[in-house]
Symmetry: C2
Subunit: 213 residues, 2 copies
């Protein structure tokens, strides 16, 4: 048969195999995080009342994670920020992820850290409708990272824990280094950056990035 | 003479020649801009009263540029921002340089532009103590750029109008592309970025960057 027939046959075969064409590209969707709070059940009890349950208003892209109806005021030695969103479900330890601009406003120096790595981080005061919590640690600027499955990692040639550089195209483009790979079997493929990192490179919820090394 | 004597003699010679050791490196100081306003004299008159003169409270690093005591409220279709600093002296055209985050708050889409390139940009309302101005254009997000003398440009191997990529080291490092070179004989060497670009890469007033291409 001719080359066009051969091409048609190959395409038909590919379609029958149910290939996910989207996955043939190396584009990775971007998820943009504004400042937010993860609470322990003990702190949730103090802030909202004993046995309080968070109210899911929107599922996030990572499985079982959700934005809550509830917000808190966070306060530091130089200022406060109101209406900071709580994300559910509750965790073992309370953690506040803020922006660099928030650090100036609050008067604290939060380090760039991976989630749950809270040793030596500064605290903040959380103010809720039923009480307050004075934390001695827990404020971080989230280190940029990429969630993915182990299958994604194999396809993209990276491994869990590796740090890569990502590329952003366009007039406000560039690269971000030290982007941590977080690969396991319960993650959706998504590159997490904060609003300042997104704005500085003109990235929005519909943007994609690629790994360059 | 021995090698230490030879070294001492060379050092002495270099000091006598009055060499500027700082200029032997390719490090470029960073200047970080928050949102700000440049006003025409006509708009200044409307906002503060006929014949008003701006009050210099702090000279900026670029010759003859200064921060003013005066601030304005800027307003768009979705919101307003108070206490936005005016920079002097007055210019031919009013120009408002804002952050991407401000665009969301104000409800406008300001493009990334070089200073004075205002064709097709959105307007904003400026609110001052003696009056308001409804602008039909003038709001931009400043394109990152590097001011330098022609001598600096020759030393760094770049030319006026060229776009380069800059490198930032550290955990939050990376590169920014499309950084415009602005070389003339009245500029101080400084790379201008906005607060979101600075925060995303952990740059502060004491930081330096390098040109990588």
């Amino acid at each position: 048969m001719g080359k066009y027939d051969a091409l048609a046959a190959l395409l038909l075969e590919a379609i029958k195999e149910g290939g996910d064409f989207r996955k043939d590209t190396n584009a990775i969707p971007v998820g943009i995080s504004n400042r937010h709070i993860h609470l322990s059940q003990a702190d949730l009890d103090t802030l909202f009342g004993a046995g309080y349950q968070l109210t899911n208003t929107k599922d996030l892209s990572q499985p079982k994670q959700y934005a809550c109806k509830e917000t808190l005021t966070i306060a530091g030695p130089k200022g406060a920020i109101e209406k900071v969103r709580i994300l559910g479900p509750v965790r073992n330890e309370t953690q506040i992820e803020i922006l660099q601009a928030d650090c100036f406003k609050l008067g604290i120096k939060a380090p760039v850290r991976m989630s749950a790595d809270l040793t030596g981080t500064p605290g903040l005061t959380l103010i809720g409708p039923q009480g307050s919590v004075i934390l001695t640690k827990g404020a971080i600027i989230a280190q940029r990272h990429i969630h993915m499955t182990l299958e994604d990692a194999a396809r993209l040639g990276v491994t869990d824990g590796q740090q890569v550089t990502i590329q952003v195209d366009g007039l406000r483009g560039g690269t971000y280094s030290h982007v941590a790979i977080r690969a396991n079997n319960t993650s959706a493929l998504e590159c997490h950056i904060d609003t300042e990192e997104a704005n500085a490179m003109n990235l929005s919820a519909n943007s994609t990035i690629t790994i360059v090394k």
